[in-house]
Subunit: 94 residues, 2 copies
């Protein structure tokens, strides 16, 4: 296997797997204070576009990497949104 292919695979693995510790941290601490909802909204849209791009090009590695990233980024987006709404509802109820 060419070294350039290895670099590409390592890059795809890192930029995909990187979101796992962020999801775990939110699940463990329930803390989403510093997280930007705008970032994850725009990023998730971008990954969705990369997924579409990969499907049109029938590029399986690109499809698989972006499918996993989409699930993880959407998880961070959903968890952050849910936590923020809960905090706000509690404040309103108090």
């Amino acid at each position: 296997m060419h070294s350039i292919t290895l670099i590409g695979l390592a890059a795809a693995f890192c930029t995909t797997a990187a979101f796992v510790p962020q999801v775990l941290r939110i699940l463990r601490t329930g803390n989403v204070d510093g997280i930007s909802l705008s970032m994850y909204s725009i990023f998730t849209l971008g990954v969705l576009l990369w997924l579409g791009y990969g499907i049109v090009l029938r590029d399986l590695p690109m499809i698989l990497a972006n499918l996993v990233t989409l699930i993880l980024a959407a998880a961070v987006l959903g968890l952050t949104l849910r936590t923020r709404l809960r905090v706000r509802n509690r404040a309103v109820a108090a």
Copy 2:
């Protein structure tokens, strides 16, 4: 311009520009509580690998997109690290 190229450009723009609101939020609030240092360490490494991948392939769009993402992701990583160290030093000093 082919629609597929437009999808690729839109995807690259979103997954690059997405980090700007995260950097601005940290600068505005100084709050990095929910942010995972492991995520940004692995993600920044991954973007660095994508940059190397683009250089080897002499792919200018890939080089430019990943260069900007690298700067932004490294900024979030650096700001988060700096803020965490400050908080810890204050706790030790107290």
